[in-house]
């Protein structure tokens, strides 16, 4: 009975974290899937959202900025605004250049953000992070508190999915895919390509900030290394590409699937293997998931649920 309850709680945590990753994957889908923008700094936008929401909602503490005790909803909205604003600045600099430059700049901004969070101790408590972050439904008895948060995360996933599907099939989404498939033609049709790209990039960053905020509330704690930055970013890419880049259902499916595999293998290896080998197998896991991504990229570039394209032309060399 106890074991069954443990599994029940594990599944709830799996779905909650999987849901948060699904939000990240949906955010990346707006940028990469719809628009072809490469964001290598997902972890940066995520962690900023986490800090913003954490600082706005926690009780006063001598160790970091805060004590505003605002409602969680306000924290989450602010997380989206700040992450989106940072995305806007990065986008303004790089969006007219090719995707590679954006990738370099975003991996850079993620590093800089990490430096700021680490060094500006007065605001962030440095490497020790912000703790005692309020958690929605935490006053409810177990397991209802866990279930409540899971329901919150999953309903955000559902709302996002609904909104993004609407956007994809709306004129906005059609312009986006036209730009991605044939930029010169879209320009010739008088579309302001840069403006559309920035909109997509900023929206995606805001969604990532939201995921960060939710994580801070879920874990009740956030520090600059909350997620090993590049691995976390990479994981979201793997989720989106394996699920099906450009397809919102694919993004959610990929996130749930990869998170389950990721988390379950960690659980299994840490239980079965001796410590030394458990650490090594963690590296092996990153290696293997990288290999899976390479195979998917080469053999099944559409992923499990390939994008249903509104137009055909594809696989043309895109210069410039």
């Amino acid at each position: 009975m106890d074991q069954a309850y443990g599994i029940f709680l594990y599944i709830i945590s799996l779905l909650t974290m999987g849901g948060i990753y699904a939000i990240l994957a949906l955010g990346l889908n707006i940028q990469f899937g719809f628009t072809g923008l490469f964001n290598a700094g997902i972890a940066g936008f995520f962690v900023v959202g986490a800090y913003v929401s954490a600082i706005l909602t926690t009780a006063p503490s001598a160790r970091h900025l805060g004590g505003y005790e605002l409602p969680v909803v306000v924290g989450l909205v602010a997380a989206m605004v700040v992450s989106g604003a940072i995305g806007w600045i990065v986008g303004r600099v790089c969006i007219r250049l090719r995707a590679d430059y954006l990738a370099i700049a975003t991996i850079g901004i993620a590093e800089i953000l990490r430096l700021i969070l680490k060094n500006e101790t007065w605001a962030t408590n440095g490497a020790r992070g912000v703790s005692m972050v309020p958690k929605p439904f935490e006053t409810l008895p177990e397991p209802w508190n866990q279930l409540g948060l899971m329901a919150l995360v999953l309903s955000i996933v559902a709302v996002l999915y609904f909104l993004l599907e609407r956007a994809r099939t709306a004129p906005w989404g059609r312009v986006m895919s036209a730009i991605r498939e044939n930029e010169p033609a879209a320009r010739a049709a008088g579309k302001n390509v840069e403006a559309f790209r920035i909109q997509a990039f900023v929206t995606g960053c805001a969604v990532m900030g939201l995921a960060g905020g939710l994580t801070a509330h879920y874990l009740k704690f956030i520090d600059p290394n909350a997620a090993e930055p590049v691995t976390a970013t990479f994981l979201v890419f793997v989720m989106l590409i394996i699920g099906g880049s450009g397809n919102n259902k694919g993004a959610i499916l990929g996130a749930m699937l990869i998170w389950t595999v990721w988390s379950a293998t960690e659980l299994v290896t840490s239980r079965i293997l001796p410590d030394d080998w458990a650490i090594r197998s963690a590296y092996m896991r990153v290696f293997l998931i990288g290999l899976v991504l390479q195979i998917v990229l080469q053999r099944f570039p559409g992923g499990i649920l390939p994008e249903r394209r509104l137009r055909v032309a594809k696989d043309k060399k895109r210069y410039n």
Partner: protein
């Protein structure tokens, strides 16, 4: 004044020559294969670990094993290109960026798996610095680093300006389509680019390891400044990357000098931000870099 030279300018030049070596490869692969290679940092790490193992096996001096570490790394880079990058040659460049991003994680985790994550040292022990002209302090290992970097950069210069393959590499960095239409064996040039880029990356990794130590994240920490060096110099411009590397290295070290009053101008914790700031400034005002490189 001597403090300025000994503790800021010299370290800047040392760091700068390491960035310069790393920058050449990233600039050339960007110019020729048209993608930002995120795995370049990990290539540097790999070179340092190869050197570490070679030293353990032979007991030789780090500089003596350097050529072999460079060759091993170049061989690995050729293999990676063949298996993981070549299938994407005729596909959108974004695919290559993702593939290299994945490769970055794969190489790093393979290193962590094989060598573990503890710090390792190539040159154990503390060396007494030489004192020149009564005040200029420079340690033997730093002279070694600067000397090796100079020799390698000279070798690159000879390759690029005197040999047929070197000229073809510059030609292809100018225009891959025209190179193809001219009858240049572009696959051959691509392989040569990987050999040059990866072996210089390995050298950068080994030299950094001589200065500090060997660790699994060392290459990733170099990635941003090295990208900045390539963009500052101009994509596809090897000489630009050398100059860019030196400038970035010196700028990073000088940023923590007490230019005004007694406090460092920039808290040392933000040193890594200097490269980023220079890069962003270039992207805003002059994306073609100092040497009129390519902008995609």
């Amino acid at each position: 004044m001597m403090d300025f030279i000994n503790f800021h300018l010299m370290p800047g030049i040392i760091l700068g020559s390491i960035y310069a070596l790393g920058g050449i490869g990233i600039s050339m692969t960007f110019g020729i294969l048209r993608f930002a290679n995120f795995a370049h940092g990990e290539t540097m790490t790999l070179g340092a670990y190869f050197a570490f193992t070679l030293i353990q096996l032979t007991g030789w001096h780090p500089i003596a094993v350097l050529p072999f570490a460079m060759i091993l790394t170049a061989v690995v880079a050729l293999g990676i290109d063949r298996v993981f990058y070549k299938p994407f040659r005729a596909r959108p460049a974004i695919m290559l960026v993702i593939a290299s991003f994945g490769m970055m994680l794969m190489i790093r985790s393979a290193i962590q798996f094989s060598w573990g994550v503890q710090l390792k040292s190539l040159m154990p022990g503390i060396q007494r610095p030489y004192i020149l002209f009564d005040a200029l302090r420079i340690s033997p290992k730093h002279m070694l680093i600067i000397g090796s970097a100079l020799v390698l950069m000279l070798a690159v210069h000879v390759l690029l300006s005197r040999t047929k393959i070197g000229k073809a590499m510059r030609a292809m960095a100018d225009s891959p389509e025209l190179a193809r239409l001219t009858g240049i064996d572009t696959e051959m040039v691509i392989r040569a680019t990987w050999v040059v880029g990866a072996s210089l990356a390995a050298a950068a990794g080994v030299l950094l390891a001589i200065d500090t130590h060997v660790e699994t994240m060392m290459g990733f920490k170099l990635l941003l400044p090295v990208f900045a060096a390539a963009i500052l110099g101009g994509i596809g411009r090897p000489y630009g990357a050398m100059a860019g590397g030196l400038i970035i290295g010196i700028a990073e070290e000088l940023s923590s000098y007490a230019w005004i009053g007694n406090e460092p101008l920039l808290a040392p914790g933000y040193k890594a931000g200097v490269a980023f700031a220079i890069m962003v400034a270039m992207l805003i005002w002059r994306p073609s870099g100092l040497f009129r490189g390519k902008v995609f």
